[in-house]
């Protein structure tokens, strides 16, 4: 059979068709493969088992874009507060001896409810609520009282 103009066009059609189909199907299959993080982070975050947090200790955890300081001040009390100092932009830390939150940059001090009690901070730290479900510590963004 002669490979003429007609056959050439048909080959081109076939090649283009396969290419076009592939460039639709490839993204579709990639889309359907679940990503590594399989679920969107909504307004709460599981940070670990209760036992992972020693009494009178703290841990900075990531909540979306912002760091949050989770404090277990005594056996049954967990607190979660925004970890960015309200004065300038430093990350605060938990002082185990004083049971207070300290910003080392300019000696700003907050109490465990996030209230600014001394030093330069002009505002309290934002509070997140902590709940314990099945021995798992969950941090939830507190809703504005609307």
């Amino acid at each position: 059979m002669k490979y003429g103009r007609r056959e050439f066009i048909n080959t081109l059609l076939g090649a283009g068709g396969i290419g076009g189909l592939a460039s639709i199907l490839y993204p579709v299959f990639q889309f359907l493969v679940p990503p590594e993080v399989t679920e969107p982070q909504v307004s709460s975050l599981k940070v670990g088992a209760v036992g992972d947090f020693p009494v009178n200790s703290s841990k900075i955890v990531r909540f979306g874009r912002v760091p949050v300081i989770l404090i277990r001040s005594d056996r049954d009390t967990f607190k979660a507060l925004a970890a960015t100092c309200t004065h300038l932009d430093c990350i605060v830390q938990y002082n185990q001896a004083r049971k207070q939150i300290i910003c080392a940059c300019h000696n700003g001090v907050y109490d465990l409810s996030g209230k600014n009690i001394s030093g330069p901070p002009p505002k309290p730290l934002a509070v997140y609520s902590v709940s314990i479900v099945d021995d798992q510590v969950m941090i939830t963004q507190e809703k504005d009282l609307a």
């Binding site: 990503p35 590594e36 609307a146």
Partner: protein, 359 residues
Amino acid sequence: MKPTLKQSMFRWLDDRLDIQPLVDMMDHKKVPIHSHTVWYYMGGVTLFLFMVQVFTGILLLMYYRPGEESAFESMQFILTEVKFGWLFRNVHAWSANLMVLFAFIHMFSVVFTRAFTTPRELTWVSGFILLLLAMFFGFSGYLLPWNELAFFATKVGTDIVGAVPLVGEQLKVIIRGGEDVTGATLSRFFGLHVAILPAITFLILSFHLLLVQRQGISEPRHFKALAEEKKRYMSFFPDFVLRDALLWLIINIIVLSLAVFYPWELGLKADALASAPMGIKPEWYFMFMFQTLKVIPPHVWFIEGETFGILLFGGAALLWMAVPFARFRGKQIVDSKWITILGIFTITYMVVLTITGYL
């Protein structure tokens, strides 16, 4: 001669489904060739974009989660974590806008070529309803990402519904699922967007396409007036279909380019307590109505300006839909040059008000 594989497959199907008449119909279907043939493609393009919408919409459904707490987050997730999520979301958004645009072009081309004259009145009516459905699709879909702009635009848009006489307030509450735009509104709009509207659209679109097949393609007056031997046609299959395919491919490339080079912003998450951002605008295809409502004085006679505007647009839409039925001295009014003037006026009005809305 032994039948080829193709022939035997056809025979097998024909024995069971009786598809020969369909094939015959396709063979006989002809598309007139004249200076306005290009408008015949507009409906097809709209249909293609609708199919893109269905396809990308179903894909987005895999990850989208309606709800005040999850809608925006799941959109962020689609855009950042899911592979090609950004592509399908942007294609969905761009194709939606182009679909409405081509639906408008399709409609006006029908007006100017008088394609809605008897026997095609029902095709016109169903087509107009499809355009309205497309606009409802756009309005409900706009809210789903639950971002600031959409939130306030929806607030304004649904507020206007409240001005409908007698039932406005109740209608507004029903649409919003409450007094205000809340998560409940989002649930409703989601249901509307992915279930109710698609179902209705499917029915009406089938009807619309069935009519097109039954009645064949409309011939404009100047073409009908030609002597029989001067009329030129192309076959629907393969001539017209191939040209359709070529155009669809071009549109496809345009949509992809727009999606890659002009991605839609997600914006900030909606916050009911935040003050409304500057420059809330409805989507462009609502702009002419939005602008009209702005220029209408607060009171026209004894009715409120907004109510007046709604009645005006409601009336105009009904009249517009009824144009093919209008008779004047026993003649279909559509033959008159007034239709062209009306069409030009409508387009000018819409374009001018839309432009002033963006100035």
